[in-house]
Amino acid sequence: MRTFILFIRRFFNLILFLALEIVSIVLISHTQTLQGTDIVSSANTVSGLLYQKQSDVIYYFGLRKMNDSLLSENMHLRALLSARHEYDTLKDIVIRREKDKVDSTHVIKYAEYKYRTARVVNNSVSFANNYITINRGWADGIGKNMAVVSGTGIVGRIVHVSEHFASALSVLSVKQQVSSRLKDGTIGYIAWDGERPDMMVMKDVPQQIKVKAGDSIYTTSVSFFPPDIMIGTVLRVETVKKNNLQLLYLKPSTNFRDLQYVYVVENKMDMERKKLEDSLKTKP
């Protein structure tokens, strides 16, 4: 026993060092998966409040830019609206009726999305996993795994929630991949290589699909994002000789550097869908 105490006293520093490093490694390994626990996160009250104070100051300098982005988003939405309701000729009426029919059977029942606005109080683009802190928490109805979109494209998913703040893992993250589709319906997935915030890669596109620079890429209904939200436009196409698949380098349509307001999207059918899928998994 005495030698044991002597041993501890002699190597106390080394033992403490190893213990603290092991604690850190445990904390790191908890967050390596998306289902990790939130022990330390910027959604806690202290850092959330600090970020909120800073963003209150900076807020006024971005008002002009924000106005412009709201105007252009309004324009886009108005264009969509007019496309649904404009009918001068007989042909247009037929199209409108068809659309209405689709709405009443599929869309409204299958995917009901609820949008909530939130202000971004902290943001980063320069790490391998970037996080966004927003000033809404579970008191405002925000929950884990909800999608975050901006007026121009996709942003990320909520990973930590506290009472008044939540932090979202941005799509600029090496941990997270987003299912995506081309204009003609070809499905692949989008990943980020951890380097430039204005460049993402769409993988697994077969070679026979013709893609040109400038083509748009959208979200699919398989991902946790609502379908048909723009992700970005293709910058250049590269063919991998090894497996005859194409890599599409694309420019995300969201400007991750000046996010000011985002929408948090709740999928009301998500719980039901997950329950069904889990019950399928457990059966042999």
Binding site: F12, N13, L16, F17, L20, E21, V23, S24, I25, V26, L27, I28, H30, T31, G36, I39, V40, S41, S42, N44, V46, S47, L50, Q54, I58, N123, S124, V125, S126, F127, A128, N129, Y131, H160, S167, V174, D193, G194, E195, R196, P197, D198, R257, D258
Partner: protein, 180 residues
């Protein structure tokens, strides 16, 4: 001011500086670096570097761990900063012993600085530990060594900016610390 209060104030000041200003550089003040990696100076290990000479290793380790966790809580990195900071806190005493001519316990109530170490040894001491810290942090964070040139460039660019800021800090605050 006692050493404890001074170090506590320095802790708060460095956390605020790191979290509120330095982390935002790439977002707010440097929009398009066009191909060059986005780097981030991390000056918060300076808190460990400037603890008094005679601080025992266990106190260094615990304060390094707290510092790392504090930064982790702000940056959502959950333990990576704590890991890197505890590592350099463990090595700090050995590096100082190798660089200083006298026993560390002879420097009573003094912090490492350019007045009692000189520019040369201090820069060697700080740049070695800072580079090690950045290497660990960015390595663990990306955990993908397929594009190692990019990773190394990011580490070196971050470490150089950090060293620049540390030198500025020393030039600004040296006179007050040297009198005590």
């Amino acid at each position: 001011m006692s050493q404890y209060i001074r170090n506590f104030l320095r802790f708060a000041l460095i956390v605020l500086l790191q979290v509120q200003i330095l982390n935002k550089i790439t977002i707010l003040w440097w929009p398009e670096p066009s191909g060059f990696p986005l780097f981030i100076p991390m000056v918060y290990p300076l808190f460990i570097l400037l603890m008094p000479f005679e601080t025992p290793v266990w106190a260094l380790l615990i304060s390094g761990f707290l510092m790392g966790l504090c930064i982790d809580a702000f940056m959502n990195t959950a333990g990576i900063h704590a890991f890197a900071t505890v590592f350099i806190a463990y090595l700090r005493t050995n590096v100082l012993n190798a660089l200083m001519p006298r026993n560390l316990n002879d420097y009573i109530n003094q912090s490492p600085g350019i007045k009692n170490m000189g520019w040369g040894p201090f820069l060697v001491y700080s740049s070695f530990l800072i580079l090690l810290h950045h290497l660990l942090f960015f390595g663990i964070e990306l955990w993908n060594f397929s594009n190692i040139g990019y990773l190394l460039l990011k580490i070196v660019a971050s470490a150089c900016t950090t060293m620049l800021l540390i030198m500025v800090y020393l030039l600004l605050f040296t006179r007050q610390t040297a009198n005590r």
